[in-house]
Structures are given as C-alpha cells and as structure tokens.
Subunit: 416 residues, 2 copies
Amino acid sequence: MAAMRIVQKYGGTSVGSTELIRGVAGRVRKLYEEGHELVVVVSAMSGVTNRLLAQAAEISAQPAARELDSLLATGEQASAALLAMALAELEVPAISLLGHQLKISTDASYGRARIKSIDVSRIEEAFTQRQVVVAAGFQGVDAGQNITTLGRGGSDTTAVALAAALKADSCEILTDVRGVFTTDPRVCDDAVKLDRISYGEMLELASLGAKVLQIRSVEFASRYGVKVHVRSSFDEAEGTWVIAEEEDMEEILVSGVAFERDEAKVTVFGVPDTPGLAASTLGPVANAGIVIDVIVQNVSEEGRTDLTFTVPKKDLAATEEIVKGMLDDIGASGFSASPDVGKVSVVGLGMRNHAGVAVRMFEILAGEQINIQMITTSEIKISVVIDASEVDRAVKVLHREFIGGEQDGSIANTGR
Amino acid sequence: MAAMRIVQKYGGTSVGSTELIRGVAGRVRKLYEEGHELVVVVSAMSGVTNRLLAQAAEISAQPAARELDSLLATGEQASAALLAMALAELEVPAISLLGHQLKISTDASYGRARIKSIDVSRIEEAFTQRQVVVAAGFQGVDAGQNITTLGRGGSDTTAVALAAALKADSCEILTDVRGVFTTDPRVCDDAVKLDRISYGEMLELASLGAKVLQIRSVEFASRYGVKVHVRSSFDEAEGTWVIAEEEDMEEILVSGVAFERDEAKVTVFGVPDTPGLAASTLGPVANAGIVIDVIVQNVSEEGRTDLTFTVPKKDLAATEEIVKGMLDDIGASGFSASPDVGKVSVVGLGMRNHAGVAVRMFEILAGEQINIQMITTSEIKISVVIDASEVDRAVKVLHREFIGGEQDGSIANTGR
C-alpha cells in the first residue's frame, strides 16, 4: 500500500483506560510502520468529561462558560499526552498538540465554538521529522487565545477539520460500534451495517447517527469533501464510508430508519393568523435553550390557526410554563401538551425520484394500526410523529418493508 | 488600607476540594472588595498530581518528558478554572490564565524548567477591567510553545516570578502551615513560628523549608527583592515574612534547626590523591540522577585519602552498585556504606560574627553522647551527620540551647 496521509479519531470508550490507550498505540504503530503520515485525534477518557462537569456543578449551577471550556479541555489534553507517551514507549516518535499549539482558531462561542481556520505548519513539520501527531480533540482557541470547546462529540469535527486542512487521504472515526446501521440494532434485529452513505443521508439520520458521529462533523466533511470512515476500534473490519453522493446511490430507496423516543408535543390553539405568529410563539421557547424539533402549522380557519411543535420530553415542563405565559399576548385560545410522543423517519436519496415512498410509509403504518399525529418531509426524509409506545414497532415494520429483513441479520445483532 | 497589588498562591491542600475552592474564593473576594489588584496562583488539587503520575507510570516506566509535562499541567489548569468559576459565582469578575496565555517563557528543561521572562500585558489589561487573574501555577511554555513544568512546588516560583514581574506589593504563599518554624513542631514541642527570616537563612533551612516553600522560589525572591509572606490559608493570622536581610537580624544567633532523617553514608577508602579525584568518584553517582548532599574529604596520608559522602537512603543500593564498579578504575582500596545516618543543621545570620557557634554545637552534642560522623559548614550554617536514631534528640537539645524552650511553646504545638 502506498504511503498515505491519514487522520484517525479515537472516542472516549476507545481510550477509556491506560490499557486501552496502549492498545491504540499498538494499532497506530502498525500504520506508522507502513510509512503513513498520521494524525491521531483523541477524546477525553470515558467518564472524565462527566467528572469535570460534576466538579463544575459543585461550584456553580451555571459555571462561567469560558472557565468551563478551560476545565473541560484538560480531559483531551491528558489523553493526548498519555497516548503520545504510549507511542514513545513503542519507539514511535510522537508529539501531542493542543488546540493552541495546533492553532485551531474558532469563534468565541464557548461550549459550541466553530472552527474558523487551522494552521497545519506544525503538523507538516512533525511529518517531515516522521513524527506521529496526537491531537487533542474538542478544543480550539479564539482570537484572544482563550480556550474554546466544540460541543459534545466535537472531537469528530476536529478530526474532519484536520483531514480537510491536511488534504488527508482518509479520516477514520474509530469508535465502539462497527459503523452506521440502517437502524438501531438494539431495536430491530434486521438492522444491517451500511457500507457507504452520502453526507446528506447521514445528516438526515441525525437522531440515529448522532450516537456515532457529531452532526457538525458531517456538515464539515460534506463542505470539504472529506471521506469519513466510521469503524470499530476493537477490530480491523471495514465500517461505513460517509462520502459524497454517487450515481448509483439513488438506486436504494431508503437507506435508514431513524427514530427518537423521548419527545413531547405542544399545540397552541386558535392563534390569530398574522405574520410573525410562529416567531412570536416559538421564539421565547427557543430563547430558553429548548430545541424545537418538528413544527406543523395547520391551514387557518376564519383567521385563526393551530400551531403544533415537539420538544425534548425533559423540557416539556419549562415549555408549558413559557407557553402559558404568552397565551394572552398572542391572543391564543388555549394549549394542550402530550408528554409521550416519538418520531420515526425514513431517509434515502432514492426518494427524490420516487414520489410513492410517503404514501407507502403511511399505508404500512395504517396496516399496523399506528396513528400518525404529525408529518414533516424534506427532500430525502419523511418523518412522522406517533405515540411513543409505538415507536419500536413502527421502526421494525418500516425497516422490514423498505430495507428488508432476512439478509445479514446475524451481523446486525453483533453490531453493538 | 490603600489599594495594593497582591499575588497570592494557594497550595494543593488549600484547593483540595470544590468546597475548599469556594472558601478560597470567599477570601479572595474580601481582598477584591478592598480594592486591591489581585493575581491568585493555584496548585493542582491535592492528590491530582500523584494520580496523573500514576497514570503515566501505567503507560511507561520512563514517560516521555514533554508529554509528562503536558499531562501534569492539566492539574493546575483545572483548579484555576474552578477557582475562576467560584469567583464568578460570588460576582467577582475573574479570568483564569494558563502558562501559554500568561506567556511565562521558560527554557525547554521538561520537569524542571526555569522561567526566563513573563509578559504581564494580559494581566495589566485584566487589572484595567477590574478582573481578578487566576493563574495556573507550575507551568510555562518554551520557545516552541511546548508546555513545561517547573518541578514539585513550582507554583511557589510562579507566584514569586509574577510578583517580581508585576512589581507587586506583596506575595502571599497560603498553605496548610502557619509559617516557617524554628524547627519541625512534630519533632520539637518548643518550635516557634518565625515572624521574619532572611532569604539566605530560608535557603539554608532548605530541608525544613522545602516543605513550606520551593527553594527556587526563594532564590527568585532574593534576586528580585520580592517580599514573601508564608501564612495559613485556614485563618487570617500573620505568618512568616521572607525578606532581604535587615540590620537587626544578626542579633539572632540561630534562627532555625533543620534536619534530614533518611540519608545514607558511603566512604571510599585509600583513593590515590590526584587532581580530579572527587570528580571521577562522584561524577558517575551524580550522572545517575542521585543527589549527593554532604561531601567530606580527609587530608591525605601517604598520597592516599578517604572520600565520604551522603545520598538519600532510597538511592543507597544504586550508589553502592556504581561505587563497586569504579573501585579498580580509581585505584581505591575499598568502600563502606551505612544506611542509617541523618543530618542536623543550625542556621543563622548571627554566626558570621560569632565564631563560637560551631564549638558550642559540638559541645552540646557531646554532652548528649551523640557522636558526630561528618561536619560541613557554610557562612551561616553548620551541619553534622549523625546516627539517624539520634536526629530527633539532637534537634530538641540544639533547639533548646540555641533558640530557647519556654516561650510560645503552645503556639508551636498547633502549628500543623
């Protein structure tokens, strides 16, 4: 194999102990000895970030954001240093580099900073000296040299951004699952590992994929055309390639069935249908930091309309408080809330040219006596909101009908 | 009180839990509200550095030095962030700054780096905005932006160096003891806290003082004339001022009795007395990283001499190996080793003008039937090597005779 430029990222469970770190070092050594140029991005050892968050919570209910980032960044700093030590122990020359040393420049949005630029000169210098670079994931610095972090799962974005900046041949995300599955193998025995998936589908599979790959890293990969290989850190098997759309991909109608169990639904009744209605109703909810997912507004009758939206179940109480307080202001007649809904989505590039997918999906669910409460669609995704207790059954039947049930079932079972 | 510029340093036991950190924040707030400009230097929470060292040891018996420094620096980074959070929680504007943000430039000697310069512009900017600066102790960066550490107790040096660079009015070292004592209160009930001590005496009291103040920080303070106030973080009592020599200090003959229990003694017999003898004998020991303390060479007889030196007891086996291997090379007739010796020193500026101190010390020990095995002296210190089992008794009797036994004994008892 010709020498390549490879970025690898190991998640927290893959570097969760000094023994596992030694194992990762062994795996990196093999690649090094094949002559590749390597950047290894590491997350904090599993459990460390939560321990640091708990310490911060003992100090303050709302810790100062700048200081929280500086605190959390220590997790990746430690695992990067330990992996570099482990490589040195195997006589692989290695150097750990942190956000400020890598010059990963971000904006100043602590806790969810966005990467603006990376200066790869220090990495290129390390490659010239045949050193492996161990990069601390998740962290950067803003223009004032303050430490910033990229949000949960941010090490994926570090890896993809480094791969883009270095024009790497591949970006491997090594994790505790074997790749991206057509649905969650814990819910559906038929789930199979995908060999490849387009960036667009991966983004739409968010609710499933977020457990494997930070969504923002997929956006980054898509923008810069970085080929991302999601695979297990515990064996050498091929995982799933997340890549640009290829021609034959449309032949597959549905590539995955995604779902969310813990949603809640709020309907505001009889709102005067004036411009800015959605903004004035949803704005205060969003400003409270609550993530609104599905939004449906019915056609207005006699100048009044109903607005329904979903929020994470844990945020329902806060949402109800906010909505209750605004009813008079927006002139609504009332509201209702349901704490037990879920969302099921089918995703696939093929949908663009096959108008019948939505209808078939509704028929399948009707055949199972599953009542659809809300519907939203995008170009390559159809989502329905249903009763939370029916989510698993809906996933199984949709997966069987759209993706097929028999082949590779045994593989899927061992996916996690 | 007029507004002052104050550097405070809190040791690991003073920030050993989130509760203690909140307590430190309260103490800092009081000073802040008095209008002072404040830099607070913190060590790692007690136990953290040892935990990180243990992790490194699991990876490698000799961890890569650069990576070890990057790993250890996380300890101070975390406590600095936590203290800044705790201050923010008390509505005291605060910002944590790390070695690279403070631009504490050091040489590249990992694990024992020396500070070369500090750029205080960022601190001055914070003062302009009425912010408290929380500085991570112990760490700096070399010319290549690699993280370096200053050695055990290095946060003391960070504090003194910052105080010098900022021309601070005072540098307070807050710790778990009430100050510098005339000897260890755990050994001698009569030990009393000194109100002040000169830099020179403090340096000579190393073996006692190292537990309170890193020696290098004293050198730094002496060079730049920084007044260091060693005091307890658990109460508001005055501690010990470590300051430049003042005229009246010489009136006190002996300011302290220091001791070391765990030494070992090696004598090499019948070495041909040629130039370079000491270097060729001791060089290989020092090169093995063993700290040689007392060295005595007797007057030569018939061209041959005996060379005796002490090393830490834990290094005796390694030292014996080295000496055994060199006997033929240096033409020595043999060697002996004793694993159970200790050292007792009396220190005081007054000795310079009072020749009788040494004689009186020998008489006191003789009166107690304590046999002196080796003697060394400096301008303001006399040290004797004696049997380890007699160290405590020697300390007590020397303290009583030179410093006095009755006054303030009760205070000394509560010193730790």
